[in-house]
Symmetry: C5
């Protein structure tokens, strides 16, 4: 029922500029295609198309209230620089988009709001291992730009809601779209946290049944993943709290929804912390179990040895080959020796009982 815990190194190429490089340096770390998906809509219209001719793209967008430009793949740096130039994006933001190992954050520029979020999913190959992708979101007056290295399915539900006009999403502005994206990213942490939480519960149940087949290593692995989840969630919480506190491009109506999103981030954080603490308690409990067992094993050894070693000594005594050993000639010598042995064994057993070594 339980997959074998595979272990693989988590060392990674850091995808970072050289130390001391000028800020805004775009270094090509990434390979593969770069595609641009455009999703444009008003309450009554909805269109999706692929477009890499940026100028034409902008021209086509006049007919819509909101235009979401979703860039997938970061290999084509020229395209990214062109988008940057077209939409007036600061070089530091471009660098952040390209450096995909950053904390979630919110930055307010004059011409746009910039958000980094991290989408999490389980690694396909290794049990309980979490992988993350960076999703950069730029909220402008009409456009929403998103950038990601790999197409991850976090955004599918939002695409579907736009297409099917489900909920309010088509009636509201682009700030609501950004909310919907952030909310979807955060919502996707729940199944991950739940699955790790279930593992913790499995461990707890197994230990309580005194099954030590629960190897300490699995507790250790889950605790490490929970740690990295905690480190991922906290910056999202800070990001949301800053959005709610500071003036920004979000309307009062959308802020109510972001508040709901904050609720979820808080709940995630707490569930993670609780599970981390339970893991730590399980570890302590496991140590106590091990200690108890060693004690148990030692008691068995000690009882057996302590009883038989003196008996064997007596036997060895009368196995000696001295010519003059009076007891050996006695008629009842053998039975006297057996009696002495029994007496020694019984009194040792009584002494052990008096020390409580036979209770559990």
């Amino acid at each position: 029922m339980r997959r074998k815990a595979v272990t693989r190194s988590r060392k990674r190429a850091p995808h970072r500029s050289q130390p001391g490089a000028p800020p805004g340096t775009l270094v090509s770390h990434h390979e593969g295609e770069t595609s641009v998906e455009v999703i444009a809509y008003s309450s009554s219209r909805f269109e999706v198309w692929e477009e890499t001719e940026i100028e034409r793209l902008v021209a086509k967008c006049d007919a819509f209230d909101v235009v979401w430009i979703n860039v997938i793949g970061l290999a084509d740096l020229d395209l990214i620089r062109l988008i940057g130039k077209t939409f007036n994006i600061h070089q530091l933001t471009l660098e952040d988009i390209n450096n995909i190992h950053q904390r979630a954050k919110y930055e307010n520029f004059e011409e746009y709001d910039y958000f980094i979020t991290r989408m999490a999913r389980f690694d396909a190959d290794i049990e309980n291992r979490i992988e993350t992708e960076q999703l950069s979101i730029i909220l402008m007056d009409k456009f929403v730009l998103t950038f990601q290295l790999i197409e991850v399915d976090c955004l599918d539900p939002v695409r579907r809601r736009l297409k099917e006009k489900s909920g309010l999403i088509r009636e509201r502005g682009n700030d609501y779209l950004v909310y919907a994206l952030i909310d979807s990213v955060i919502d996707h942490y729940f199944p991950i946290v739940d699955q790790l939480g279930d593992r913790v519960t499995d461990f707890d149940d197994a230990l309580q049944k005194d099954e030590t087949t629960v190897s300490a290593i699995e507790v250790h692995q889950v605790r490490r993943e929970l740690l990295s989840l905690a480190r991922l969630i906290r910056p999202h919480r800070e990001m949301l709290s800053r959005i709610l506190r500071e003036p920004s491009r979000f309307s009062a109506q959308t802020r109510l929804f972001l508040n709901d999103c904050m609720d979820h981030a808080l709940q995630l954080g707490e569930t993670i912390e609780t599970n981390r603490e339970i893991c730590s308690d399980l570890r302590s409990y496991h140590l106590a179990l091990i200690g108890n067992r060693t004690n148990d094993v030692m008691k068995t050894l000690t009882i057996v040895s302590t009883i038989f070693i003196p008996l064997s000594f007596i036997a060895g005594l009368y196995g000696m080959n001295f010519e003059y050993m009076p007891e050996l000639k006695w008629k009842l010598g053998y039975f006297a020796a057996l009696g002495a042995m029994a007496a020694v064994a019984v009194s040792l057993l009584a002494w052990f009982r008096s020390r409580g070594w036979f209770g559990t």
Copy 2:
């Protein structure tokens, strides 16, 4: 006297919308009846009835100062949507009412104040296991709406006080009713915390009498429940502190009472923390006890082995069958050997005493 610690998995269906679903999606997680109890009163009048015809309900309420609409069961989503529409409740609030695994919180909407509290009780089947139910409270200008999945007896004392006109509750407005509900929820944590605290005291007493029948697992279980209690109480404290700090629908008079409620929440939090720390100390103490015992057992084994192994060696030596072994022919060989053995044993015993191995 002590019930056997039963262990049962705490995995649970999370009762949550799909990740990325539009906010305000009401998904039917729940089964069973949905009933609406109406408790309407003024200082001089008091009436209780069941009603599911919401329009008629509102019409009947003109004659009362305060109307408490208590919805029990969340299966009938159409009814809940109808209530939402009638009383102008935001879709996010409706979603929160339906998603029953949330932290306590307070939210201020234009038309109402919204509170989530969590009622705790012991699980009926498993010793020391705590279960919680979410109680959603909406405070409007005249109405108080409450929502819960299962009828829990936390609210009975308030119902009784209303009916028997005991205390001030019938003289005050609906803000006082909300206070009375929150206070009753928090008051019901006391017997739970006390019972767990008594368990901790039992453990402490038993360990101090050196009884190790106190299994580490029970300390572990109680500590885990205390952790989940701490996680439950903290958001209530934050909720009360925000109510006391921010302007809201509560009158100055009622705020005095909420302050008293805050006292109790603080006291609960501290008692829980104290007990958690004592559990952690008990765990450390238990480890030390185990270590001491292993030490004790090993000392016994070592003393016995170290004395008898050389003696047995001497006995073995003279049990050898070499043809030419001069000692074997000596008249007093046997007694010399016995004497040598006694000398070895006595000097080993003296050495052990000098190392203090016979003191406790």
Copy 3:
């Protein structure tokens, strides 16, 4: 020199109203007499009398600047309700006076300031066990009311100073009297904290002399008492800090004295924390000692066994009764065997020495 550590359960009847009871419910938890001591004074006059006729009491007080009404015993709820009514005390305050297991606090009501403090003393029967009594203080424009379940000697020094006109106490108003009471309560923590600190120092000294007669249980007990002291002191600190921060009935002059009191509370808190940390360090150190000793014992056993077990094997070998064993016939067989044994023993000893097992 050291009293035997007596152990007694600390479970207690919680003396609380039923969960959900109306606030201000006075439930009779307490038995025995309720007496009212009146201490009335001006700079030049001083009078003490017992009085339970509250109306007469108030009438008699006109002639004094400050009147301290000290209620001892909480059994007579009618008397307490009458005092409440006479002096316009809020029902929540009356409830707090009667519920004697609360944290220290300060509450500002329109007609009075209300303080809860907790007086600590050592239990008469059990070593190092701390007991506390709640002292409720009400500061009105002229009157000071105090309530306590049992007469504790914390207040004696204040009574004496009033009577003997020592210091400034008779020259100042009733706010100074309240300061003097709070100061006396806090001052009485010092000998308790000092005594526990001396115990910790005893443990430290004993462990450093490698005396393990210091049982882990005593460290555990002292640490638990220090924990409960820390929990007692902290709310007093919060109380004083709020008094110093917020406007209240205390004059600027008296605030200087309250500041001195705050100093003492800070010092108590720090001494307790220091001692708690030392206890925790001692525990770790004790564990290391135990581990070292087990290691020591094991080394002894291993050295002895590892040397004699092969020797005994050789002896056993030549104790076999095979008919054809050539060595047994050799003239020097016995001495060759002894020589082989000596060689084995010497090389094993050399090997142990090379591994450093003979150093401490």
Copy 4:
């Protein structure tokens, strides 16, 4: 593959004034040359030269927008005092420049802003050991002064960017130069933190493969270096946060870049904390592994001893030389004894199996 962990003491001469010395005392702790490198530039001009004639230096600088005076070596106190006098530097700043073991900080003087940063690099001789150098930066209206004891390559990338006019650095003022220096210092922490993080990952991987060749000492060493990195990074974060919060000589444009720098400092801090916690978890896990192994070893010993000790006793019994031992005469005595031994062994094995000692 893994270099042997070399260990060397980290005691160091503190390079500090005598306690109680007057502030501003410059004590000569340092030896060697003191050289002054001048890098002067405008958008269109760029010049580098060595100069120790301070007056001439200042005269030559009129033709440039920004002048960076980089002092390498702190032995020539007269030169440093002269620079201090020429540029109006406070004696406390001169003392800080000379005392090279200080925390990163930012101080605002009337005539300049003063920054201390610490450049880190790996020790050349000892694996995983970190060394730091203090870089003092003074930002004046036109000049930037830097002071360091040893030439470290942190500043090379900035020099190169100035020379090659790469990025914006030549277009911006001297505040941007200071940003570029601070940024380069902080950027150079990344490879260090990454390398230590890779060590932690190595340990984790090795432990998970149950390889205990990962010696506890290496975890201990890495954890200590991470601790000192954490202590180094935190003051940089405080420094940046103060620069961003308070008015200073930095333009709004440059502040955007400093904010990016702050991002990196935050990320460093978090990566370090995560790795420290993983180290601590690894330590706990390692302890559990050791406990498990001791348990395993003990179980083997106990099983073997507990089975053979009784058998040997039986053998010893019939090795006794009593004249009258009836069993010895029995025809099948020997086989009966063998049978009894087999029965004892089998029942002991069954008992061990029933206790689960043969499962892992």
Copy 5:
């Protein structure tokens, strides 16, 4: 090279007033002389004399800009009361001066600023043990008053600078003198912290060379002293931070110097914390070492026992004296037995090797 760790109890007479005593009570805890040293100076004049006639002292001081009155010894309470009256010192301050076990603090009175600092030095008799003396400083418009129980050499450097007119001290006002005193007190913590830090480094180095001669007790002692240093430094930091934040008698110029002092306090605090954490890590590492060693010892015992116990059993078997044992008659019985023993030994060794028990 290492002095033997001497252990001595640290219990002490608390030198405190009775609980509940009136504030300002001066109780004579101290013995010995009380002397008054007067150091009066202007930029051009400097005089030192002893004086106990307070009135004459004040009269003589008109000719100087700054007068420092240094009271050494606290036995002569009448003198202290007289000084109090002459300089208008509040009774609470007099009590604080006399109660010499207080935290560092800063209090602003109308007529003076009052500072408590604690001077630390190593105990003369016990290695690594720290002792502290309280230095009370009163800063008035012209006078600086200091009070100490014992003459400690912290103040010597300041006296010398005044006399030799070194640095700025004679040019500045009495606020600069107070700064110089506080700075000297804090500077004197550096050699203490450095020495303890060197001890920690010694321990670290020794453990890394696997020398366990580093007794756990010394780590424990050093960690305890570091704890008490941390408790001493923190209030100094709070004191300096309050001085820098609040308006006081310090000029803007002197505040720059106090800021430098704050730097040093911060650095002290961090070094102490770092060393405390390293101690805690060393303790954990030491525990792991012990566990490893026990494991090692046990493995040796188990290997030897597990091999020889079965061999001895075989030998014992053929040492039995049954009349009918066919193997004993076999020509090659003895060699067959030897062969069987070798086979058992070899296969056990192979099994141990397969479990990795021979790797370190």
